[in-house]
Amino acid sequence: MTAAELVVDGLGMKFEGLTALAEITLRVPPGEIHGLIGPNGAGKTTLFNCLTGFYRPTSGAIYLTGQRIDGLPPHVITGLGIARTFQNIRLFANMTVLENVLVGQHQHIAVGGTDILSTRRPVYPTPVERILILRGFPRAAVNGIIEIAGAIARPPRVRTAEAAAVARARDLLAAVGLRGRENDLARNLPYGDQRRLEIARALATRPSLLLLDEPTAGMNPQEAAAMVALIRRIRDEFETTIILIEHQMRVVMGVCENITVLDYGRKIAEGPPAAIQRNPTVIEAYLGTRAIQGGGHAAP
């Protein structure tokens, strides 16, 4: 996957009169590591929710490498290349580590037949499919029949696809440092490993834009440093653009090339870390906390 460009144009999000985001305009060039900071309630996570299609923005537009994506359902947006992790980890707790990553690959496991969801996947009609479609069966029904038939009969093609997915899942787990934990239940992993698994699972969707929501939350400085190294490595090895929400200023200032600052749902500043640290509006917004100058945490 090649890294994507994200353009957000005049984005607004209102919840029954409450303005969560207003007039957000943002451009993140391909391959950038971009920071999203701001006091609690500034709208950072709301912006992520708009980008992934979980919320439908009330105004404005979002473009991923030129394609407009706002208003599309989440699974389609995932197929187009946006993946995210969560501030409060949301793994499939009762599935194994390996299975979590396999779910991430959902759209990339050819079960026989084309997947109606994926707009990126090439179309491989099987002979059976071709006949059914020619006979006028609706595409969704044909896909359904093929998927169930594939799950029951497990023809070589399905088995090959599964094996490839498992191999790739193992690679991803190795890349985030979880080799050997494949068959553990996700909920039995220690906290830091759960965060890493979330990243592996997000990478499994083959993102061109990766959204990380507080990837170092609850980590000590050593763990946070390891996470920063991992984030850089992901950008280089997996060729993704990365946007991260982060409260640990040392992390943000260290890893981000550009930073957007939100306050009360508006963008109040944008620029490279050094400029942001000196920006009077930003300091004003954070006043009362020792966030910007020091290395500590921002808003509580």
Binding site: F54, A151, V158
Partner: protein, 318 residues
């Protein structure tokens, strides 16, 4: 139990086989309840009627293929054909029910789809009763008679076929759930639909698959029921449906292995359990008591162990 069993070994083994037979049917039907509950947190009370429709479709297929005139190897083919027709009918009905009666209510208060399900259940039941003038139909009596036996243990061919095909269907379903992309998607949606959609899983489509798989099991159960009990009628879905729901609750609703185990526990409780109670002095429970036993079990479980008798750590839930 410190009571000496007065009846013969062959009596108990018969009860055991009978328990396994009805238990197989309960388990097959219970899977539909438990899987739908797993993804939608909703009790699909129309599932008993999906089973009934499968049974009627299988009956229609058998009659169309020659009914009582079938003999020899044609019987096997006809039964296979009837099972396929029944599965198709149940699946089609279930997909339509989901689309028309449940999907529009997604996100509504939990009571709304439940009431809708009860409405669908009554609608289908009376539709078939009306079409059949409320008369029973009788499955062609084509299944080979006879039994396999060793010592006091005896099992009729039809019971063997019923139990074996149920177990095979359940094994197939379990393999799909545990080992395929489809199964993982179902488990992911059951755990967290939002999260699953962010992994690229189409939640609506996955829910349809859940209805399809559950209905397929019910369709098979419909034919097996018809072959075994022979009498089918428009109202036949109600009691097995409620029993299967009980089985799903016994095993911990939402859990697939739980539903299978719950079906057999319930089947055995109604037969072996009842006869064990009869061993107590002064107790004499007739066959009609089986429903009392089943629903006493349901109420007891709901009061004391609402997560099911196996108290699943939720690992195997799907």
């Amino acid at each position: 139990m410190p009571v000496a069993l007065t009846l013969s070994v062959s009596f108990w083994s018969d009860q055991f086989v009978n328990g396994l037979t009805t238990g197989s049917l309960y388990a097959l039907i219970a899977l539909g309840y438990t899987m739908v509950y797993g993804v939608l947190k909703m009790i699909n009370f129309a599932h008993g009627e999906v089973f009934m429709l499968g049974s009627f479709a299988g009956y229609g297929a058998l009659v169309a293929m020659g009914g009582n005139d079938l003999s020899g190897p044609a019987v096997a083919l006809a039964i296979l054909g009837a099972i396929i027709v029944a599965m198709s009918a149940s699946v089609s009905a279930s997909v339509v029910i989901e689309r028309l009666a449940y999907r529009p209510l997604r996100g509504a208060p939990r009571l709304a789809p439940l009431i809708s399900a009860i409405g669908v259940s009554i609608f289908l039941q009376y539709l078939v009763l009306e079409q059949t003038s409320a008369r029973a139909k009788f499955y062609p009596d084509i299944f080979p008679r006879g039994a396999l036996g060793a010592g006091p243990f005896e099992i009729t061919y039809i019971q063997l076929f019923l139990i074996a095909s149920s177990v095979a269907m359940m094994a197939l379903l379990y393999a799909i759930i545990q080992r395929t992309r489809l199964g993982r998607a179902i488990r992911a949606v059951a755990e967290n639909p939002t999260n699953a959609s962010l992994m690229g899983v189409d939640v609506n489509r996955t829910i349809v698959f859940v209805f399809i798989l559950g209905a397929a099991m019910a369709g098979v159960a419909g034919v097996l029921y018809g072959l075994f009990f022979q009498t089918i009628r428009g109202s036949m879905g109600f009691i097995p449906g409620i029993k299967a729901f009980t089985a799903a609750v016994l095993g911990g609703i939402g859990s697939i292995p739980g539903a299978m185990a719950g079906g057999y526990v319930l089947g055995l409780a109604e037969t072996v359990g009842r006869e064990l109670l009869n061993e107590l002095p002064g107790v004499n429970l007739g066959n009609q008591w089986r429903d009392v036993i089943a629903f006493t079990l349901l109420v007891t479980i709901l009061i004391f162990r609402p997560t099911g008798i196996f108290a699943q750590r939720s690992t195997t839930r799907a």
